[in-house]
């Protein structure tokens, strides 16, 4: 196996707020191989979006990466100069944000925004060809009447259309890695499914790798090669999708799977007791311990490391 496309090692990051420093990410490690589709799941506030931003180097101004490495094709992005990083973004790695409406600039038409990306990435491409490429990009995400759409402002589009435009924008750059932050969340279920299918097909066609951030286990199960489960700022379990769903090992993953409502009955799904910890003062040792049914002070002395239990299955829990 050659060098992985992206390797995140022990990444820590946090935000400076009024009550101190929130240590949100606490040693996140993950690996993405070329063309691999990674699902990153976890409940709201567990640091999924922070992970994405830390990888891309676009944390908000009060955020700071405090440790670890982000190796992209072997280069540590944290050491890269801003200029280098700017060149990599968009060409090699790109992202799709949570809210499709907000990712398009309201004062420009769809055509102008597509054109701007093309112009930046292909200087010297004639205007007519750029227009043609923009039309093709819109057609590739199955948007009807792309020529007309070029002249539309984002306000004139529906949420699903906007999300498709965002996907088209991200795909224009032919990036090797696309990080998608819950692109379906703002859409209704049927549209989400359409957009998902489209997105995954295009990702597969281009053989891009993707990190897909979501809290929908259904989406993960259906589309992803490998799943990383995040809890309170660190990866607690990682396994190939099949393996994870068949054999969840971490108590958090097990609880998460139990919390999914089923079509076949089974009553009201079981929630997880408690809530995501306060990042200003996170629990010592294993961050899950206050909510963990298996916790005992003797068995869980410190923070468990990710260990390989076979089948490419990693878990961070003292039970294993």
């Amino acid at each position: 196996m050659s060098q992985p496309l992206l390797e995140v090692r022990d990444l820590s990051a946090g935000y400076r707020v009024y009550k101190g420093f929130l240590r949100v990410l606490d040693g996140v490690s993950l690996t993405v191989r070329r063309g691999e589709k990674i699902g990153l799941v976890g409940e709201s506030g567990c640091g999924k979006t922070t992970t994405m931003r830390a990888i891309l180097g676009v944390l908000p101004s009060n955020g700071r990466v405090t440790g670890g490495q982000v190796l992209f094709e072997g280069r540590d992005l944290r050491q890269a100069s801003p200029r280098e990083l700017q060149r990599l973004r968009g060409r090699k790695l790109t992202a799709i944000f949570q809210n499709p409406g907000a990712a398009l600039n309201p004062v420009f038409t769809v055509g102008q925004q597509l054109d701007a990306v093309l112009r930046a990435h292909h200087p010297g491409m004639p205007a007519r060809e750029r227009r043609q490429r923009a039309i093709e990009a819109l057609a590739s995400v199955r948007l009807p009447d792309p020529e007309r759409l070029l002249n539309n402002y984002p306000v004139q589009l529906s949420g699903g259309m906007k999300q498709r435009v965002c996907i088209a924008l991200a795909l224009l750059s032919d990036a090797d890695l696309i990080i998608a932050d819950e692109p379906g969340t703002a859409l209704d279920v049927t549209i989400e499914d359409q957009v998902m299918r489209l997105f995954m097909r295009l990702v597969e066609e281009r053989q891009s790798a993707t990190i897909f951030i979501t809290h929908s286990l259904g989406v993960v199960r259906q589309w992803m090669d490998r799943v990383y489960v995040m809890y309170a700022g660190s990866i607690v379990e990682a396994a190939p999708t099949q393996e994870l769903f068949r054999n969840p090992l971490h108590p958090y993953t097990q609880a998460l799977l139990k919390a999914v409502p089923k079509l076949t009955g089974g009553g009201i799904p079981k929630g997880i007791e408690g809530r995501v910890p306060d990042y200003a003062d996170p629990p010592a040792g294993c961050r899950f311990h206050p909510r963990c049914p298996f916790y005992s002070p003797d068995r869980c002395p410190a923070r468990p490391a990710l260990v390989d239990v076979g089948n490419d299955h990693l878990v961070a829990c003292y039970q294993y």
């Binding site: 809210n99 004062v107 020529e147």
Partner: protein, 302 residues
């Protein structure tokens, strides 16, 4: 290029124009929903055109300068001189029209000089909010804002010689911080918008982000402010002239006319009243127009 390609390109342009025209029509519709905006537009257009074509519109263009006709001095309004004449026999109406030309010219020059640097500084400070760049720019801005504008302008014109050019410099110097403030506020919130971050993630340069992502979203506010400011600059310019630090006689200026006429109140009331009304009208016009623009442009953004 084949003929079908040409036809396709032609169609594309036609479609573009059709949709552009639609947008303009919609904006015009929204603008006309508020009758006061239309009143403002009419006032600005009428006074603006009068200022531009003063040579043709003013009944006595030669009265704009150092003209004397003591035979017709101090004529009350009506008859040959619609708004009366001043102590040296010059037609007040003609001088008001030329006064507009002067006021408009000054306002345009001041805003054209003050807005661009103010906007650029605000953009940069807003984008780099919380850094040293922000502190330096905004503290300087604060210092300028802390000085009462008219006093600063008076101080500057008093140090330099009192003339039109220096009055403009003075007003410009006190005007740019308002644009910095406005754009700073907008830019510092816009930079957190997802489309700005999306642009960063896609590898856009700082220049692109400042001028192609953030600035276009500020344009509507800047335009509105510029329109409103036209009125305010006219007031400040007239105030400077009123205290003798702006336009110097015989240049016809509304502020100077009000000041000169004041000593003949209340008997020759028209000397002061009409120029004052002229100032009020045009400032009101710009305010109404500015409000109308704000309505149109902000709705467009939602």
């Amino acid at each position: 290029m084949s003929s079908s390609e040409t036809a396709a390109a032609h169609d594309a342009r036609a479609l573009w124009w059709a949709m552009k025209r639609d947008n303009w029509r919609r904006m015009w519709y929204r603008f006309t929903r508020n009758p006061l905006s239309v009143v403002g537009l009419v006032i600005v257009l009428v006074t603006g055109l009068a200022a531009i074509f003063a040579d043709y519109i003013a009944p006595y263009p030669e009265h704009a300068g150092a003209f004397v006709d003591f035979g017709n001095a101090m004529k009350p309004p009506g008859g040959q001189y619609l708004l009366g004449t001043d102590p040296v026999g010059r037609d007040v109406l003609s001088r008001i029209i030329y006064g507009y030309r002067f006021s408009f010219g000054m306002a345009i020059v001041v805003i054209a000089l003050a807005a661009p640097p103010g906007v650029i500084l605000g953009l940069v400070a807003g984008y780099y909010r919380g850094t040293r760049i922000d502190s330096i720019i905004m503290r300087i801005t604060d210092i300028f804002l802390a000085v009462p504008p008219l006093v600063l302008a008076m101080a500057i014109t008093a140090v330099l010689t009192a003339n039109v050019f220096n009055a403009m410099i003075a007003v410009t110097l006190m005007w740019w911080p308002w644009y910095t403030r406005l754009v700073y506020g907008l830019a510092s919130s816009l930079r957190n918008e997802f489309y700005v971050q999306a642009a960063e993630v896609m590898g856009a340069s700082k220049f692109h982000i400042l001028f192609r992502e953030i600035l276009p979203n500020c344009i509507s506010s800047i335009l509105t402010k510029m329109t409103l400011d036209m009125g305010f600059v006219i007031i400040i310019g007239s105030s400077l002239s009123f205290v003798g630090l702006g336009a110097q006689p015989p240049t016809p200026d509304l502020g100077t006319m009000v000041a000169d006429g004041a000593k003949y109140m209340p008997d020759q009331w028209w000397l002061t009243t009409f120029p004052a009304l002229a100032i009020v009208t045009v400032v009101l016009g710009f305010n109404l127009l500015g409000d109308g623009l704000r309505d149109v442009l902000t709705v467009e953004e939602q």
